[in-house]
C-alpha cells in the first residue's frame, strides 16, 4: 500500500498466507464427501481470514511505528512466522503442503487441470481488475483523501478530523485481502504446493518496490510503466543473454534511479506539468 506512505515489506506475508489458506483448505477438506469444488472456495475463505488477521496486526503496528522501523517490523513478522511454521512443525512445517494430488482426487483430473490453469488465470485478472478499480475508487472517495492526509502528516490529519486508525486499518485490510487473493490463486491454486521457505520471501516485496519506484511512486501509471520496464527488460535479457541478465540489469536500474529519482512517470509528469497531458499521467 503506497497510499499510507508505509513501505509494506509485509505484503509478501499476505501473499504467503493466501497461498497457505488455499493449501490448507484443499489439504484438509479434500476427503470430505460432497464438497467437491467447494474446497477451493473454503480455501479462498481461509486465505482471506488468515490475511485479515495479519493485516490487522500490521495496521496495529502502523499505529505505533513509522518509516524504516515499520518496514523492519514487518520483515520481523514475516521471517518470524516463516521460521515458526518450520520450527513448530505447523501446517506441515518445512515440508510444506503439496496438494496437486488431493485436488485431483477431490474434483477429478479434468476439472483440476481447468482450475489450475484457465480459472486460476482468469481469477488473477479479475483480482487485478478489482485492485485497479478499488484504487481508482479509493482515490476518488474520502478514503483516498484521508489516506493522502495520513501519508503527508498524521498529526495534521488528526486535527482535521481524520480518524487515522480507521483509515490505516482500511488500507491494510484492503491490501491484505487483495494480497491473500493473489496468493491463494496465483500461488496456491496454480502451483499446487506451498513451502514456507518459498513463499515468505522478502525479496518479492523488494521487487515490487523496485517496480513502483522505477515508474514513479504516487502516480497511477507509474507502477505499470515500472512493471513494464522491469518485467520486460528482465524477461528479454534473460532470453537474449541467459545467465548475464542481472549483470546488465543492475547498472540499468542504477542509471535510471540516478537520472530520474522520481521515476520515469514522475519525470514525465514534471515535464508536462500544467498541460492537459498531466491529467492522464496522474
Amino acid at each position: 500500500m503506497g497510499m499510507t506512505g508505509y513501505v509494506d515489506f509485509g505484503y509478501v506475508t499476505f501473499i504467503a498466507l493466501g497461498a497457505y489458506g488455499m493449501s490448507l483448505g484443499i489439504t484438509y477438506f479434500y476427503q470430505v464427501e460432497g464438497l467437491g469444488i467447494w474446497i477451493v472456495f473454503i480455501g479462498f475463505l481461509l486465505a482471506l481470514l488468515l490475511a485479515s488477521l495479519s493485516a490487522l496486526l500490521e495496521a496495529f503496528i502502523a499505529l505505533r511505528l513509522r518509516g524504516a522501523y515499520f518496514a523492519i517490523a514487518c520483515i520481523g513478522i514475516n521471517e518470524g512466522l516463516r521460521h515458526f511454521i518450520e520450527g513448530a512443525k505447523l501446517w506441515g512445517g518445512s515440508e510444506g503442503l503439496i496438494f496437486s494430488g488431493s485436488l485431483i482426487q477431490a474434483v477429478g483430473r479434468e476439472t483440476a487441470n481447468q482450475l489450475t490453469t484457465f480459472w486460476a488465470d482468469l481469477a488473477v485478472f479479475i483480482i487485478a481488475a478489482l485492485a485497479a478499480f478499488l484504487n481508482i475508487h479509493y482515490m476518488r472517495s474520502k478514503i483516498g483523501y484521508a489516506l493522502t492526509a495520513v501519508k503527508e502528516d498524521e498529526d495534521a490529519a488528526k486535527v482535521m478530523g481524520v480518524n487515522t486508525t480507521k483509515y490505516k486499518t482500511i488500507a491494510f485490510l484492503t491490501s491484505g485481502l487483495l494480497g491473500a487473493s493473489v496468493g491463494a490463486v496465483a500461488w496456491g491454486l496454480k502451483l499446487g504446493y506451498v513451502f514456507p521457505g518459498d513463499v515468505f520471501v522478502i525479496h518479492y516485496t523488494v521487487e515490487c518496490i523496485v517496480v513502483v519506484l522505477l515508474g514513479g511512486a504516487g502516480t497511477l501509471l507509474g507502477p505499470v510503466v515500472g512493471g513494464l520496464i522491469y518485467g520486460l527488460s528482465k524477461y528479454w535479457l534473460a532470453i537474449i543473454w541467459p545467465g548475464f541478465q542481472l549483470l546488465i540489469f543492475a547498472p540499468i536500474i542504477i542509471i535510471i534511479i540516478v537520472l530520474f529519482p522520481e521515476g520515469v512517470v514522475g519525470m514525465l509528469k514534471n515535464r508536462v506539468r500544467g498541460t492537459a497531458l498531466e491529467r492522464y499521467l496522474l
Binding site: R140, S141, K142, Y145, A146, T148, A149, K151, E152, D153, D155, A156, A157, K158, V159, M160, G161, V162, N163, T164, G218
Partner: protein
C-alpha cells in the same frame, strides 16, 4: 454560554511546566489574541485544546462538553479547527484537495460528499485569495501561501472555533495587514470565534482583537481589553526586558517536544 472553557489546565514535559494552571473562557464569535514571548506556552496550550496532547491536570470544556481526553480527530467534527505554527499542508495534494479534505472530515462529516467538498473548497480558496494557485501542489507554495491554504482548510471544516498558531510569524508588514483584515472578515462572515496567537507584533494585535491574553512562563499573565493590556506596565516589562535566558532555553525544549 461560553464556547470554550479551560479550567486550571496544566501540562508538563518531564520536569518542565509548559502550561501552568491556565483558565480561560471564550464566547461564541469572539476574536481574541494570545500574545507572549517565545516559550510562554502558547503552542502547547493550543495543542492541549486541539487534542494533540492531553493535559495532566484541569479540564477542557467545549460547548459544555468535557473534551479533555477526547482524541484530536473527534474534536474536529465538534467544531474545533486549527492551523500550525509552521504551515503543514499536505504537500503532494493540490491546494483544492487540501481544502476539500478539511470539508470532508470537519463538522459536516458524513453529510458532505467528495464533490460537494471540492465545491466548498473553491469558496474558501476565493475567500483567502488563493484562486490562482487552486490546482498547484501545496508543497510548491511560498510559506505565506501555505499559511493561507491552512486557513482555508481549517475554515472548510466549518468550525465554531478557529485556533491560529503563530498567525503572523515571518510576515512582512503588507502581509500582516492583509492577515489582520482577513481574520476580521472571516469573523464577520463565518460568525466563528477565533483565537489568534501572535508572538511579537503588537501593532497587529491592536487592530485585530478587542481582547488580549498575555502568556508568560506557561501562565496567563494578563487578560483584558486590548487597550488596557497594551498599556499595562508589566506587559511592557516582559516585552522590553525580553525573555530571560532561562525561558529561552525552555522554549527550545518546549517546541521540539
Amino acid at each position: 454560554m461560553s464556547l470554550l472553557r479551560l479550567e486550571n489546565v496544566t501540562k508538563r514535559f518531564g520536569g518542565l511546566l509548559a502550561v501552568n494552571n491556565v483558565s480561560l473562557e471564550l464566547a461564541s464569535g469572539e476574536l481574541i489574541a494570545i500574545v507572549g514571548p517565545n516559550g510562554a506556552g502558547k503552542t502547547t496550550l493550543f495543542n492541549v485544546i486541539s487534542g494533540v496532547f492531553f493535559p495532566e491536570e484541569g479540564k477542557v470544556i467545549f460547548e459544555d462538553r468535557d473534551i479533555t481526553r477526547l482524541p484530536a480527530y473527534r474534536r474536529a467534527p465538534l467544531g474545533l479547527g486549527r492551523t500550525f505554527q509552521i504551515p503543514r499542508p499536505f504537500g503532494s495534494a493540490t491546494v483544492r484537495e487540501n481544502v476539500a479534505i478539511g470539508a470532508m472530515f470537519g463538522t459536516l462529516g458524513s453529510r458532505i460528499n467528495v464533490d460537494e467538498s471540492l465545491e466548498m473548497a473553491d469558496r474558501y480558496i476565493d475567500l483567502v485569495g488563493l484562486q490562482p494557485h487552486r490546482e498547484k501542489l501545496a508543497g510548491n507554495l511560498t510559506p505565506v501561501e501555505k499559511k493561507m491554504v491552512e486557513i482555508a482548510r481549517a475554515l472548510a471544516m466549518k468550525p465554531k472555533l478557529l485556533l491560529m498558531d503563530e498567525a503572523m510569524a515571518g510576515m512582512n508588514p503588507k502581509d500582516i495587514d492583509y492577515m489582520v483584515d482577513l481574520l476580521i472578515r472571516i469573523k464577520e462572515k463565518e460568525k466563528i470565534a477565533i483565537v489568534a496567537m501572535v508572538e511579537h507584533i503588537m501593532r497587529a494585535v491592536a487592530g485585530l482583537a478587542k481582547r488580549v491574553v498575555v502568556m508568560h512562563q506557561g501562565a496567563t499573565f494578563v487578560d483584558g481589553p486590548t487597550a488596557d493590556v497594551l498599556s499595562d506596565p508589566r506587559v511592557i516589562e516582559v516585552y522590553l526586558g525580553g525573555p530571560s535566558e532561562k525561558s529561552k532555553k525552555d522554549l527550545v525544549t518546549n517546541q521540539t517536544s
